[in-house]
Amino acid sequence: MFSYFANPERFQNLAKWLVPPLGVLGLLGIAIGFGGGLFFTPVDYQQGEAVRMMYVHVPAAWLASFAYAFMAMASLISFVWRHNLADAAAKAAAPLGASFTFLALLTGALWGKPMWGAYWVWDARLTSMLVMLFLYLGYMAVRNIVPDEARAARLAAITAMVGAINLPIIKFSVDWWSSLHQPSSVFRAGGSAIDSTMLWPLLIGALGYTAFFGWLVLVQMQTELDRRKIARLQRRMAGGRVSRPEAAQRSLGDD
């Protein structure tokens, strides 16, 4: 399967089909999740209106971890099988994951202040999320600092794979340590603890965030492939004459 999708031309054809519906699904899901959370869900009996922040915080936090798992998996494929498209996928996921981790931390702080009385506490869940933000930033720093592209990709892949140890820590931090953060209330043994009148915008919003992530990862991968083609074309033009179809063919084949 990996070798099937290793062909950039095949990927570009697939991406052309997937990009528009993912974009529409993403933006629509986010709009419905936000609108539903703000205007069409009941207030919580304990938190009152503050519960509306759940509809922006929880999907961002879920996506932050999902994006990291995606980046670590793509890094593993890139590292083991030298799969250039997997490397492009990991590279594309990093800034998106970092942005959503930042968003989860920021919306969490805004929710924490009225509920806990503090924007920030050195709680296991919050701290492990902060560590994940640093892991994303570290991954991007390695890619930017190391001048040799292939070496940067391998070092960044190692960073991403080692950092994956933080994912179960994030997930189980609320069970392993005494925490101000509430335990899992959606994906837990015995079913969701959230009433369906409050659950639907959360799930639609999370689906929207995920589609949005998929959309922008694919767009960034397309951009990355174009950049690699540009670099090769520039090198070949500097070194000798090359025809347009030949240039395109060679660029694709080299990826």
Partner: protein, 56 residues
Amino acid sequence: MTELLDMGKYAGFIWASYGVSIVVILGLMVRILGQRKAAKVQLRALEDKAESANSQ
């Protein structure tokens, strides 16, 4: 309408959390789609340049 928008004593926190979420989402979208467009334009220009260089 006013009743619908009234978030009580937590309004500042609620609107701020939705506001930053929208800003980040739109920011990512604009940046990534902008980079895609710029790369496409640059690639097309280079391909045209390569073609005209070869035809001379």
